[in-house]
Symmetry: C2
Subunit: 596 residues, 2 copies
């Protein structure tokens, strides 16, 4: 079962042969760890994901959460699986020593959690949201708030959510209308409606800790008037035990295409159904400074975006391994030109290999990309020099929209190919891949649609800082290309084409940065994001090629074949997109509503 | 409601302004018709699809067919909707005069039926399969068989199926193992298992007429030993009324990602659960000559493939119109560079327009492509000269795999964009688009996967006849390009790029046809299919551009904008695919199983 979630061999290759994760324990922050503790943790995650999470994957899809007007019902085994996750200490992988933690490097954590995303992404959402919630509070909340809220989350007693979107404010957070009214007795009271709240209501934990973006009355309009609040489902008594209901009520559940096992709620804050301390309004505790809520959220959102990419890669990965297993056992057709031969496994057909190689290139490339970004998170947190830290921040900034968008798009495309390899069987619910597709489809939408990522990359990260981050990335790519050239052989050949594409990319980028009509440039942002994404992953593949270090054996040959595939069959997709962006074509600006 | 299925204005444009369907009644075959009868029929279909089929679309998805071990249950309203279809005479649109029909041209029929595909493709499958079944029998069955089986199907009393696939024989029909044993009393008895049988079991009609491919004992191996049989669910008494059960039993239903309203069955023939005439074996009536079954099936399959393309286009079309309506009413964000402006409808954002223009180009382009092919069917049946008829056959032959594969791929991509335009809402089952996506996903698989279409196009249609069909198509494209050049202006500019791409396509094709390693060429067939598909649809768009005849007004401006979009944003996808095919890259041949 483990064998069809991720490849442990590949995870090991990426972490150690490529990203040198075994060296991290030399740094003070990770000094209690070693390659042995990492390996034990990874092996435990692989086992637990396979034994506790994967068996519930179809069940959670079939029996989606049901609201009877009073409470939300979910299949009973969900509790046991979540308890196993908690019992294994996995909620606390990022906890600081003051809360009893021994922080595991982000690159190892990301790999650990990917096993659960591959096994059951909808179930994994509960602990993942809780972890993101804790990380945000650890960074921005008071000591007191950390003790009150983070400690019980780390123990698995409370679960967390993120409440940003509203019915009229999804991509446009500037339009959030939920308001916070100062209240002498309790701090603040919050009033408003929040939508798309994953984990927004359930009884899987004693309490739910909502992190809510709201506007304090009198605060400025737009994103600079948003503050962040802790709004629990239940108030706590003086011992920190759950007591009265807060004024937070479930207005309804969303019924989704996939990801069905994760409750997705519309929440009403302060509608007066409950009266905490005798009056309406959801009791809320301000986190940090007023009006800095979005900034705090973005701290979480960048990690969340890498997490979305990791989820997309993990789903693409398990779908690939299942398609591969199917292609090896399914007998159909004959080798080309030999009608009297015995029927063959479909993996022998070149068009099936095309689909499998594409899936391999997308899934392993996507996982490598998000692990690379997680490694940058570690670098930003633990690098030995300020310059290294700054460099890591710079790269992370420009890579984050790509780490979210690229796996969302291409590991979804890989999941689609997994259906196609299965033929009619893949279209049935007797096989996993159609669910993986439906689950994975969300990743293009949540945590900022890919269109938003495109504007983030081109508008904020490239035009906004005049290409400094991209140039830092270009230098990193150049270093890899130089190493490939120095090694000669096929690596040098592949590097040649990559160098050509990156020069083109930088030329076009320089042209875009030069004074011009920004609106016209940004209209083509999605093509730019796609071009940069493929150029980045082609580099990630070359880096993997080099990390195989010319070793013989099927695993390394396979890595090199996937790199070859990506460079020959995928990299050519970059050129026309760059040419389109460079052309400044105005079709999208000039077409008017009535012409559709 | 009609307004979100297809655009009646566009259907009118395609049929009359472009394909000159109003001239068809001048031909003897269609002489009882006129533009007025076509228009009345089209309007009735639009209304009926909207009033009877569309309201059941979500219901059939929610309440999929259920087998209780005895019979298959479906929601009750299904009957009424099918009855309305029958009562409107729509089963008989292709019937010859001898059965009381007044054949409607294929191009008009295809447009008529597209309304039902857009409204409820799973429900439409029942009459569509029955129509395909009738057409096959009309072409190849005896007078007697036609009277016995086709007449009650035309009256809606019997429904039809196509039974080709088996658990071990899907793409590889050569491996069909179902056998037919001659039986002096009844003709033949059939024994075997058939899989993926749409409409295979239900009680929506008095009887089900299965058309079954089976191998008569002693027949050759491979596809040349397959014969076609009529195998009814119920035997008929001497008056032609249903009597005893035949030996055909339901082994189980498939539960699918989409298209859930269409029963999809595993059928056991001759397992002895029923004993017709006192002995086991499904009573079967041979159609035409022994061992020519696949040839007869292919007669149907070519039309079925165009029908699959039409279904994919219709689903992409309705998804587009729903995304368009949503984008016009959903308020979110502000115009670029104006943070203090009032929030705007999302159709004002260039990236949303990109997605809408792509959807428009795919949906209208896909519908245009299948209508063009249907018009060729009419030409093949009614052209005034044998040369015109031969030319139509030649074009139809080469275009059929494209008419199946291109809309399956790109109108599905459009349906995906419709989800994306809706954002989180599109991912919920409160909106139609996620179901349209799931339904549309089947089209890449059934009636020959797109991989099979690629081999059909490159292997059989191009290499097989040494490019004659493609050259005929090239000449047709050249005629369009010449007309565009003669007209000057933007049309000539667009034609220029198209001419360049087609020259490239023909050069590469010549290279492929030249003696070489066929296995290596065919390994890249999918890229060739995609390249030709986009080159064909770019031509179809230029033809539409010209058909607007420089007329002013939003509708025509919109057509020209979509053509511009397709040529600037889609046509560039052809070049690198052709270069890849021309390179003869061997990566797919050289990678071995163990390297995955």
């Amino acid at each position: 079962m483990v064998a069809t979630l991720l490849s442990a061999r590949d995870v090991e290759f990426l972490l150690y042969d490529w990203l040198q994760a075994a060296e991290l324990p030399q740094r003070a922050r990770f000094s209690t760890h070693s390659r042995e503790t990492f390996d034990a943790l990874l092996a435990m995650c692989a086992d637990l994901a396979a034994s506790e999470f994967a068996p519930l994957n179809r069940l959670l899809d079939d029996q989606e959460p049901r609201f009877d007007g009073e409470r939300v019902h979910q299949p009973e085994p969900v509790r046991r699986a979540l308890q196993a996750f908690t019992d294994a200490g996995l909620l606390g992988l990022a906890l600081p020593p003051k809360l009893g933690g021994e922080p595991v490097p982000a690159v190892v954590r990301t790999a650990c959690l990917a096993w659960f995303q591959a096994a059951n992404i909808a179930l994994a959402a509960y602990p993942f949201l809780t972890i993101a919630n804790m990380n945000l509070l650890l960074a921005h909340a008071s000591e007191d708030q950390v003790q009150t809220w983070v400690a019980p989350m780390a123990a698995g007693r409370f679960f967390g959510t993120m409440c940003l979107s509203e019915p009229g404010a999804g991509s446009s957070l500037a339009d959030i209308t939920t308001k916070a009214v100062p209240d002498a007795a309790t701090g603040h009271r919050v009033f408003g409606n929040k939508m798309w709240i994953s984990g927004g209501e359930h009884d899987l934990a004693e309490n739910i800790v909502h992190l809510v973006l709201a506007r304090i009355v009198g605060a400025p309009a737009g994103v600079k008037g948003l503050s962040l609040f802790i709004v629990p489902k239940f108030l706590l008594d003086e011992q920190g035990n759950v007591a009265d209901r807060n004024d937070v009520t479930l207005a309804g559940l969303n019924h989704k295409m996939g990801y069905r096992g994760t409750v997705n709620a519309l929440l009403n804050f302060g509608e007066g159904k409950h009266l905490p301390h005798g009056s309406p309004g959801a009791v809320a505790h301000l986190v940090g400074q007023p009006n800095r809520g979005l900034e705090y959220m973005f701290h979480m959102m960048n990690e969340a975006r890498i997490g979305v990419g990791a989820g997309a890669a993990a789903l693409g990965y398990t779908a690939y391994l299942k398609a591969l297993a199917y292609a090896r056992e399914r007998i159909q057709g004959r080798p080309f030109g030999n009608r009297t031969a015995a029927p063959t496994a479909i993996i022998q057909h070149p068009d099936v290999r095309r689909m499998l190689l594409a899936q391999k290139a997308y899934a392993e490339g996507g996982l490598a990309l998000v692990l690379y970004c997680a490694r940058l998170v570690d670098e930003a947190n633990s690098a030995l020099s300020p310059a290294d830290r700054e460099q890591a921040d710079l790269l992370l900034d420009v890579l984050t929209p790509i780490a979210k968008a690229w796996p969302s798009q291409w590991c979804l495309a890989g999941t689609d190919l997994a259906i196609q390899v299965h033929g009619g069987y893949g279209y049935t619910r007797d096989h996993d891949v159609e669910q993986h597709y439906r689950d994975n489809r969300l990743n293009l939408i949540h945590e900022g649609t890919n269109g938003i990522q495109a504007l983030d990359l081109l508008g904020r990260k490239v035009l906004g800082d005049r290409g400094i981050g991209l140039r830092a990335l270009f230098e990193t790519v150049q270093t890899c290309i130089a190493a490939a050239n120095a090694g000669g052989g096929e690596g040098a050949e592949l590097a040649d084409q990559l160098a050509h594409t990156w020069r083109h990319l930088m030329e076009v980028t320089d042209q875009l940065i030069a004074p011009g009509e920004t609106a016209a440039t940004l209209a083509l942002a999605s093509f730019y994001l796609e071009a940069v994404g493929h150029a980045v992953v082609a580099w990630i593949w070359l880096a993997q090629f080099l990390a195989t270090d010319r070793r013989p054996g099927d695993f390394y040959e396979g890595k090199r074949a996937a790199c070859r595939y990506f460079h020959r069959y995928e990299l050519p997709r970059v050129t026309w997109r760059l040419e389109l962006v460079a052309s400044g074509d105005r079709t999208l600006l000039e077409v008017v509503d009535a012409q559709f």
